[in-house]
């Protein structure tokens, strides 16, 4: 507690003290007199129902029925008893006298009674008026899942979960209802058991440099996940809710006997795709063609038929000397390539990894204590040598009921994970290099141009990727503890005060080390040992402290249901960074820590932000038919300009349960019909902590060899800087047919994001290229459809759930007077554009239209530079007779039009089978990896994409008409060569399980299940220039102002086959 107090020092240290004093003084009030009620709970057929929860409404006081369905509970006269059991309809009965109260529970044929978690509370699903998607984590422990975000793939309409990396343990990217922000991130706010976690956006490379909110959170501990999609549901979270809010609820103990569960699985992890690259013979074929062409072009009298010796003589080289631009390796033509090795680098670096998981949990509840305790160990080897992820996590959720008025509890979850990744994904990293590596080598894989071996002179100068994987270190250790202490006090029957104090602390260290033996050239390794060795060590500590206090009032008066919430919150994030790196190599070999470095650069820095909030909500329903809800939040953040630190975030929504109207009440067909309407405003505050200020930074100089410290403004101040605002209108319809055998939800939304936190280009005369200001707007419109059907009931059960979403995204305006912003590119001319009227980050390149023929040239076709016959033919978009950057046009957009997921579940006797199919259509990917592996004029040494096989070779042998000749010197321009459809369909998961319960019944084991899962085994995509159409790993824009994470060497999705066991004791 002392730490917590210290943390909140700036804000309300006194307040906290007061709070606790008042809280515990309240606790001393006494309960009213009570009576004992007993009875039996039975089902429709009159059979006794054990383990039914019997709870006094508005308290946590609860018991459960015994094996004979009997219960006994002490309750006040007038109290409401709530009888609850799994899929049965919950019944509420008032206590009128002491003694017997028998109850019959009916199996639910409606989902209306389900309770969903909403911001700062729960609500009956039937009363929900906002757009909320629910993911029940019931079967989560039956899938080999190491992250919570992984579980959400393909599950909910409007919630797009992208697996952007194949590195084990790495965060996924989640977007709710499209992308509305250009530079402030599009990731939702995560709220774990009421604790709003610090939001973080991926950096330009698509990585979370200071952690993702879901890191280290054990999916096996999750009870349910709710996604608040529209502003009316999310607006209670104000300035952080514009990208949606994901509410995660962890498991609680259930009344009844303590339950002990043990879950384990083990299996294999492999690549799900191999990229089609040229093989050794094809590489030689291309190299020979190119070298001969270069030779012929290099001077008169030079012909392709001249031998290596003749060329050496012409070039005047000494014996044994080569000019690899003009001379072939004679061994290429010899049998077995004269002893050269043919290497498939992909096969060398990929492997079959082993994954295993163990989870032990215990839970239970008594009248006074409710607990859930778990421990988990996961070890997952990656599909690439040298990559793995290990995590240890524990959780204790304990809730204590001190008396009828006071309840308090602690949730604590310490976790520790270790990730090993020697740097596989991304530009010029190991995977990219392995793909580009020449397949013909003098040495064997693992020894190419490393240690004492020199480079094969026709090969790229890259060092052996396999040796890099096995000899370098890239280790990240993350120790994260999430803790919540809360107390709840019932002031009156209907009025409850709740306070929570939350702390999320992450200590992360990362270490890297690359020895000189696997870098540089042999000469460098020999002449300057250790100099090429590099190493670094970095750490950060990230702390989020949240104190929230709410008062809630719930009252039912006849047909009127009223619920009122008022609250206040203090939220602060503090980040402390340390980075150390070796300068100029290491002085000592064999030591991987920086004490061996020849010199060290070090740095630390800190940043902090504070968010202060007040919020309130009123929910009213009449007869459960007419529903109204309104909320408002006022947020103040230190991140914004002094003129605009506070903002209001209102929302209002209404619902009409048509099915409850008299005209539908008795309908046999329609069991549920609800219309929802909502409007709300929320914000996005995801910018740097001091984005509104004119900060000074170090801009040093030197005089006479001595550093001269300099300070200069490093960005334009903007005292008006404020949140991004997002206004969402949502119309929804929920429908249930035939006793809810078919349920469906339909939503239409229109979300306008305005005042975007945009790095608006400004004249360079201000000293800066851009200024962070609130400018521009983006509209996302879409429809969402969710359908759930019970196709077959009885012995053989078949259920289907389907979700389908469509989103269209459009830039409505940019800065005043501007109609487009070209996104800078680190590689050649810009290829992405923000243009008013078009989707965000539209792909803007020159269109390729076949191959130039002599006829084209005779007809004065537009050319790019010195193009000749056999080079690609580009579209002269602006018709000025030449091909250049002005001929770019919009040819695609990154976001898909449609995303979908379908889960089919079959049950027969003890067997169950579920299949999840997921996919998307309508988007495009502009692949810089494809460009790196298949560019015009690509040199001899690099290996190239398989499509070069069918290249243009001569007018009479034009190949497939897609790829021009191997030897071209006109250069390159961003064109549709590297534009791929991002459509894919994938069988994400097939699980076949068998309930062993029947076989082992009566023993100590209460239940057991064995299952087999295949993840990512089948699928199809059109991405020939890379492995994963959703991959992002490299900052393509090279600009923080317009982050554009794209694929420059991302791993394929892991394909795994798992055998698992679940036991319940």
């Amino acid at each position: 507690m002392s730490k917590i107090l210290q943390l909140s020092e700036i804000c309300g240290k006194k307040f906290l003290t007061l709070l606790f004093i008042s809280f515990f003084s309240l606790a001393q009030l006494h309960a009213q007199e009570s009576v004992t009620v007993t009875g039996k709970v039975s089902d429709e057929k009159g059979l006794a129902m054990p383990a039914v929860s019997v709870k006094i409404k508005g308290t946590t006081q609860a018991v459960s029925t015994d094996a004979n369905g009997m219960y006994a509970i002490k309750a006040n006269i007038g109290a409401i008893l709530v009888f609850q059991y799994l899929s049965y309809n919950t019944q509420e009965l008032p206590v009128v006298k002491a003694g017997l109260l028998n109850v019959k529970l009916l199996e639910a044929n409606t989902k209306l009674e389900e309770v969903v978690v909403i911001g700062y509370g729960t609500q009956k699903k039937g009363n929900v008026t906002g757009a909320i998607a629910t993911f029940k984590a019931d079967n989560l422990d039956e899938r080999p899942i190491v992250r919570v975000d992984q579980a959400l793939v393909g599950q909910m309409a409007g919630v797009s979960v992208k697996q952007t990396s194949g590195t084990p343990g790495k965060a996924f990217s989640i977007q709710v209802r499209g992308t509305g922000s250009i530079s402030a991130g599009n990731e939702p706010l995560y709220v774990l058991d009421g604790f709003p976690l610090a939001s973080s956006s991926p950096n330009g490379s698509g990585n979370y440099s200071t952690g993702n909110p879901l890191d280290n959170i054990n999916p096996n501990d999750i009870e349910s996940i709710q996604v608040l999609k529209d502003a009316s549901a999310a607006a209670i979270y104000g300035s952080r809710a514009a990208n949606g809010v994901v509410l995660i609820t962890t498991k609680r103990g259930k009344s009844g006997k303590p339950t002990i569960t043990f879950n384990t699985y083990a299996g294999t992890v492999e690549r799900s795709k191999k990229l089609d690259m040229l093989n050794g013979a094809e590489w030689i074929d291309r190299a020979t063609e190119m070298i001969n062409a270069q030779w012929v072009a290099s001077g008169t009298g030079r012909t392709a038929s001249q031998t290596t010796e003749e060329r050496r003589a012409i070039l005047g080289l000494g014996a044994g000397a080569f000019n690899v631009t003009y001379m072939l390796d004679d061994r290429w033509a010899q049998p077995n390539y004269g002893g050269l090795n043919v290497v498939d680098w992909q096969d060398e670096i990929f492997r079959t990894g082993i994954t295993q998981n163990y989870q032990l949990g215990a839970s239970g509840a008594t009248e006074t204590v409710n607990y859930y305790v778990s421990g988990n160990y996961v070890k997952q080897q990656g599909m690439v040598t040298g990559m793995d992820y290990t995590s240890y996590s524990a959780r204790a959720n304990v809730e204590i009921k001190a008396n009828d008025h006071l309840k308090f509890g602690v949730n604590i979850a310490p976790t520790y994970s270790v990730t090993n990744d020697p740097g596989v994904e991304g530009k010029d990293n190991i995977l990219h290099q392995a793909l580009s590596m020449s397949p013909i080598q003098q040495d064997l894989p693992g020894a190419v141009n490393v240690f004492n071996n020199t480079q094969y002179i026709w090969s790229v100068s890259t060092n052996d990727p396999l040796a890099k994987l096995t000899n370098s270190i890239g280790m990240t250790k993350k120790f994260r503890t999430l803790g919540t202490v809360f107390g709840e006090y019932k002031i009156f029957d209907d009025l409850t005060f709740k306070t929570t104090v939350n702390l999320d602390n992450t200590d992360n260290t990362s270490k890297s080390y690359v020895p000189y033996t696997i870098t540089g050239s042999l000469t460098t390794r020999n002449t300057s040992p250790n100099v090429g060795t590099s190493g670094s060590y970095g750490s950060y500590r990230k702390r989020t402290f949240v104190n929230e206090n709410t008062l809630s009032y719930v009252k039912t008066l006849g047909k009127h249901d009223l619920s009122v919430l008022a609250g206040q919150a203090y939220n602060s994030d503090k980040l402390e960074n340390v980075s150390l790196s070796a300068v100029g190599g290491f002085g000592v070999g064999g030591i991987t820590t920086l004490n061996a470095a020849s010199a060290i650069n070090g740095n630390t820095n800190e940043a902090m932000n504070v968010l202060i909030s007040y919020f309130g909500r009123v929910q009213y329903s009449f007869d459960s038919k007419y529903l109204l809800s309104a909320s408002i939040r006022r947020d103040g953040s230190s991140r914004f300009g002094s003129n605009n630190q506070y903002g209001w975030f209102p929302s209002v929504s209404a619902g009409w349960n048509i099915a409850k109207e008299s005209f539908l009440k008795d309908s046999k067909k329609i069991s549920d019909l609800k219309l929802r309407l909502s409007y709300g405003e929320s914000g996005n505050y995801n910018i740097g902590d001091y984005g509104s200020r004119a900060l000074l930074g170090s801009n040093n100089y030197t005089f006479n060899g001595v550093p001269a410290y300099g300070q200069a403004v490093i960005g334009l101040a903007n005292p008006d800087l404020s949140w991004e605002k997002s206004k969402t209108t949502d119309i929804g319809l929920d429908i249930g047919l035939f006793q809810n055998r078919i349920t469906a939800s339909f939503d239409y939304y229109n979300k306008l994001s305005t005042d975007l936190l945009l790095n608006v280009p400004v004249p360079g005369t201000t000293a800066f290229p851009t200024q962070l200001s609130n400018s521009g707007s983006v509209r996302n419109k879409g429809v969402e459809f969710e359908l759930s059907t019970r196709n077959l009931t009885g012995d053989f059960q078949w259920t289907t759930s389907l979700n389908l979403s469509h989103n269209s995204n459009k830039v409505v305006s940019i800065a005043s007077g501007q109609s487009q912003i070209l996104i800078p590119s680190s590689f050649d001319v810009p290829h992405s554009i923000l243009r008013v009227g078009d989707p965000m980050y539209s792909i803007y390149v020159v269109r390729q239209e076949g191959i130039l023929t002599q006829q084209d040239i005779d007809n004065k076709a537009a050319l790019f530079g010195s193009q000749t016959v056999g080079d690609p033919k580009y579209k002269d978009f602006n018709g000025d007779g030449v091909i250049d950057a002005n001929d770019r046009e919009i040819v695609g957009k990154p976001n898909p039009d449609w995303t979908y997921g379908v889960t089919n579940t079959f049950r027969y006797k003890g067997f169950d089978l579920s299949v999840l199919v997921q996919g998307q259509t309508g988007g495009s990917i502009y692949s810089l990896l494809g460009r790196a592996l298949g560019r015009t004029g690509q040199g001899v040494p690099d290996n190239a994409l398989g499509f070069f096989r069918d290249r243009w070779r001569s007018p009479s042998d034009p190949g497939a008409g897609e790829v021009g000749k191997a030897y071209s010197t006109f250069g390159r321009i961003k064109n549709t060569d590297w534009l791929y459809s991002s459509n894919y369909i994938r069988v994400r998961n097939i699980t076949l399980g068998y309930d062993l319960g029947k076989q082992i019944k009566g023993k100590a084991v209460k239940g057991a299940r064995i299952y087999m899962t295949a993840e990512n085994f089948f699928g199809h995509d059109s991405y020939k220039g890379g492995f994963n159409p959703e991959a992002s790993n490299t900052n393509l824009s090279g600009s923080d102002s317009f982050p554009e994470a794209g694929d420059y060497g991302g791993l394929p999705l892991p394909k795994s086959l798992i055998l698992g066991l679940n036991f319940t004791f």
């Binding site: 090429g532 203090y570 100029g584 801009n699 100089y701 004249p763 200001s773 501007q818 010197t969």
Partner: protein
């Protein structure tokens, strides 16, 4: 119960009050402009930051002057390097990173100088020493003029910004006539030359700061540049006849006694190379230089030394790649222009290299600033200073003025200087009747790889004849587009045109 509610109410009030304050978070790891410039040292650091923008100037000269000229045949095999199009006169270089950098970096320096000048007015009183205050003003004005002169030479007309501007204002400032920019440059340099100390008046630790004679030398060059032909473009040349004005400034420098023309002593032939020696920095040849040092954190070292050096050369020495990437070969024309025994040739130019895998590079490249024994731990941290203006340059510029009719004697001001330069280079002296083309030819060899060539061609009017002739002779790969006068200046960077359509017009020919 009432009591409790009151408690809560009070607690809430305390919270609201105390939290208001907590929204006022001061950045922990940075200063802000609101709290800076309140102590003498703040002004020193503000001044140093204006110098900081000089650090990329040498790279810019090599990329945009040396590479544009007939000194290099920098067309690359694959056609993808950033320097592609600079040397080969592509029309579409408005987005070229070098072209972009020239604009943004110079305006960054100008803004810092403006900040400094404004803060001196606002808070300058905190500096107790009035002389120091004036020196800061003069240094800031010198650097502002320096950055504007670079802008004018690169782009011609540019926006005139003489105070700090925010985006709203900047969006309404269009390009000013070159003459207006020169007005500011000249007045700034006049103030600087009147108020800056002479070099010897600076403390040792201030070596490298702008001096009176740096200002006069630059002012001389400015007058000369204005006197160059205007080519019918809105470029740096105005066709004014200010050779005499220039000569006056340069003569002041020559007569100051602050500088010495380095000569060989005895049989040694090291005087030329010694000017550029790391152990001989800030020698008596140096009028103004950009200073670098290695091993600091943050780095204050240089990248320009390897800019024109292919990575393969460092590999052949067993050193890590530095970042020069592919070779930018020295043009055949320049190679052949050296007389036998010219010691400047082997010092400035490396004739190929062999990396030990049987592959040989036979083309030559500039390696003037690369001392293989001084490869730093980090490739971006070379120690060697870059001499922007050296005494030899001042002498030769004065000679140029005389050839253009400024007062002076052809024999002593031209022939003697050129002969001294030749003798130091290991060549025969005794030349008489030096003509302007001969003088420029001598400059080409003397200042090879120093980034002056393009500006020299433009100022002297030779560019229209030399470049087409050179292209015809040296462009064996037929990659260079025909030269025209519009290419004397660069296009306005595309990013600047895109900010607000119509604010700036593009230069003719692009």
């Amino acid at each position: 119960m009432k009591k409790t509610l009151y408690t809560l109410l009070v607690a809430g009030t305390v919270l609201i009050i105390s939290c208001k304050k907590s929204l006022e978070q001061q950045p922990i790891s940075n200063n802000t402009i609101d709290t800076y410039f309140t102590a003498p040292n703040d002004f020193l650091q503000g001044m140093n930051a204006v110098y900081n923008d000089l650090r990329t100037y040498p790279d810019r000269l090599l990329n945009l002057s040396e590479t544009r000229s007939d000194n290099l045949y920098a067309v690359s095999e694959g056609g993808v390097r950033d320097w592609e199009g600079i040397n080969s006169f592509f029309k579409t270089i408005a987005s070229n990173p070098y072209v972009e950098e020239g604009w943004s970096k110079n305006y960054n320096g100008i803004a810092r100088a403006n900040t400094m000048l404004e803060q001196l007015v606002k808070n300058g009183a905190v500096i107790p020493d009035a002389t120091l205050r004036t020196r800061y003003e003069a240094e800031a004005k010198f650097l502002r003029a320096f950055y504007y002169f670079d802008l004018v030479r690169l782009y011609g007309e540019v926006p005139l910004i003489d105070h700090t501007v925010l985006a709203d204002e900047a969006l309404n400032i269009s390009r000013s006539p070159v003459a207006d920019i020169y007005k500011l440059i000249i007045s700034d340099l006049q103030f600087a030359s009147e108020n800056l100390p002479i070099p010897s008046a600076y403390a040792v630790g201030d070596k490298g700061r702008a001096s009176k004679f740096a200002a006069k030398s630059l002012l001389g060059l400015v007058y000369m540049t204005r006197s160059g032909p205007d080519y019918g473009i809105k470029g740096p040349g105005l066709g004014l006849n200010e050779w005499a004005l220039a000569a006056t400034q340069l003569t002041d420098v020559i007569n100051s006694g602050s500088y010495t023309f380095a000569t060989n002593t005895g049989t040694a032939t090291t005087a030329y190379s010694n000017i550029f020696a790391l152990t001989n920095e800030n020698n008596r040849e140096v009028v103004f230089n950009v200073e670098y040092a290695t091993g600091s954190n943050p780095q204050v070292g240089a990248t320009y030394p390897w800019l024109l050096v292919p990575d393969g050369y460092f590999q052949s020495l067993g050193k890590p790649n530095q970042g020069g990437l592919e070779i930018r070969p020295v043009s055949t024309n320049l190679l052949n222009s050296y007389e036998a025994n010219d010691i400047r040739k082997p010092f400035s130019i490396q004739a190929g290299y062999a990396i030990p895998r049987g592959v040989t590079e036979t083309r030559s490249f500039f390696k003037k600033y690369v001392d293989p024994t001084q490869v730093p731990a980090s490739r971006t941290d070379w120690a060697i200073n870059f001499i922007v203006m050296r005494y030899t340059d001042v002498l030769l510029l004065k000679a140029e003025c005389v050839l253009h009719g400024a007062p002076g004697s052809t024999a002593t001001d031209v022939d003697a200087v050129v002969n001294n330069v030749r003798i130091r280079a290991g060549l025969a002296g005794g030349k008489t009747g030096i003509t302007l083309p001969q003088l420029m030819e001598e400059r080409r060899k003397e200042f090879a790889a120093e980034g002056t060539r393009w500006h020299d061609l433009v100022r002297s009017g030779l560019v229209t004849t030399v470049m087409p002739a050179w292209i015809a002779a040296d462009d064996v790969r037929k990659q260079i587009q025909p030269f025209n006068n519009n290419y004397i200046i660069y296009p306005v960077p595309q990013s600047q045109l895109d900010v607000k359509i119509g604010l700036y017009s593009q230069n003719a020919g692009y």
